[in-house]
């Protein structure tokens, strides 16, 4: 897979407090990556380096081979789209059309192109409202999808979703993750920050665990969530099915319900071969 973001020995501080300490990381094309960790561990600070909102104090971040220190945030915004944690902080226009067309207008798209991307972006997030609707009339879940459409309209190759599931109901969480998965299938790279471990296990391919400004684990959900002691030390809980499998002394660590069902059915077949 092609490496598109490379973080090398990244250190960053707010005033005197080092919030990122010696981060080394690669993100690859068409990956669905999740960043987890407690509030204040540096997740948002790290991803803000990917679109140039923050620049390293030490070390480097390169995006598609370009050092973020050598380019502007405006240029990086064409490649890396950022959906902020609270959708309301990103919404300012009077209508849905104005809202979604703002980005492509600034990128000097033609009127016809703007029209096309507004429709296709809203379609992609399943927001089938009148284009004249005011964003304030939308539900929280719809506003979350609207800001994703804002970012999609600029056609970035990388999309960062900063806590899109916090404070959202179950259906919205799954809708957002499904949109993210569809984008990966279309060739985009998605980086999502979330506290919902079960959701991450269901949707993400790789999990990066941060603690106190450092990356302390990085791997497949199955591998990361089998490290119970590490998770406990930093206050994260593995999915219930993983805890259940551990309490049953299974060798495997399933992280999704489907994986647990597979493990259980295999065991049933081993013990009762006559029914399999």
């Amino acid at each position: 897979m092609r490496e598109i973001i490379r973080v090398k020995n990244l250190w960053f501080k707010y005033k005197t407090n080092w919030v990122l300490q010696d981060i080394n990381l690669s993100i690859y094309e068409k990956e669905f990556v999740a960043l987890v960790g407690q509030n204040g561990c540096g997740k948002t600070t790290l991803v803000k380096h990917f679109n140039g909102l923050l620049k390293p104090d030490r070390g480097s971040v390169t995006v598609y081979g370009v050092d973020t220190k050598d380019t502007s945030t405006a240029e990086l915004a064409k490649v890396v789209g950022y959906v902020f944690q609270f959708p309301d902080s990103q919404i300012f226009a009077r209508t849905i059309y104005e809202e979604v067309s703002f980005g492509p207008k600034n990128l000097k798209f033609s009127n016809r192109e703007i029209d096309e991307v507004v429709h296709s972006s809203l379609n992609r997030v399943g927001l089938e409202k009148s284009l004249d609707t005011t964003p304030t009339a939308l539900s929280t879940g719809e506003r979350e999808r609207l800001v994703i459409a804002d970012v999609l309209a600029m056609n970035p190759r990388v999309i960062i979703l900063d806590e899109p599931t916090t404070g959202q109901d179950h259906i919205t969480c799954h809708n957002v993750m499904k949109i993210a998965r569809d984008l990966v299938n279309l060739g985009k790279t998605v980086i999502v920050i979330s506290h919902d471990m079960e959701l991450i296990c269901e949707w993400a391919e790789r999990v990066i665990v941060m603690h106190e400004g450092r990356i302390i684990n990085n791997g497949r959900p199955k591998d990361v969530f089998s490290r119970f002691e590490m998770l406990r030390d930093i206050g994260l809980s593995p999915p219930q099915v993983s805890v259940l499998a551990r309490s049953l002394q299974f060798e495997e660590t399933p992280v999704t319900i489907d994986e647990m069902i597979d493990v259980l059915l295999r065991r049933l077949c081993l013990e009762h071969s006559e029914i399999c």
Binding site: Q38, N39, S139, I171, L236, P239, Q249, I261, L268
Partner: protein
Amino acid sequence: MQAIKAEGLSVKYYMSDDYILKNVNVSIREGEMVLITGPSGCGKSTLIYCLAGIIPHHITVEKYEGRVLLFGRDISKIRFSEIAKICGVVLQNPTSQIFGMTVLEDLAFGLENLCLSRSTMEKKLNEVLELVDLKKHVNTDPQDLSGGERQRLVIGSLLAMNPKILLFDEPTSNLDPRGAKEVLLALNRLRKLKKTIILVERKIQDIALSVDRIIALKDGSVVFDSSPRDFFSNMKLVETLGVSSPQIVRLSYLLREQGIDVKIPLTIEELRKQLIEIFGGG
């Protein structure tokens, strides 16, 4: 004894087309821990505001029909200062309820206004600090606390006033996993004090298993009012409400679909025991 009761309660906000609550009848006993849930816009927060007397005392509405009884008395006819001594409300965003320069100052504010003696105040503050586990942060600026700690500080400030009923509007949904866990622990400690606890939450998988009863609202009406086990045994309803159920509950349903007979569990341990019987452990 009955702590709060809503009788035929219907509420309509100004500028809204429809009633947000429609003929709601709920009754909460003293010492009970009750979870109110339902999809966005179903009227959960409005119900909490009514049960706490904020509606009609502080938020005026176009229509307020039926009544809320607080220990048998019509809440709309009780002075709000008196209601506040009985009911403490913890809002979704704790920052809006914190104003002290230190944790101790914030906790002491209510007690100072009750003109208690210094020794009584100190005793009370120590008890509260213990309950919400903030002893080591006595002199900390609340701004420097984590989300979970701030939420616990608000709970502590209310507890200092010794209310009989505590109402929470989404106390954990915006917290990180550690913060949510800490608040849940604090809630369980309050339960032991026999406080009446009423919670509104959308993300219910962690909290639902600790409560006595779940009340579910949909489009302003009560569609469910019974135990967590009954709630999660009705997967069709859970799905209709769009709320998330614990992973072990969903696993049990899928096992049933595979012809494996398991009862809906409320804890991992309950499911573990059943699976050991079926599959054998280890």
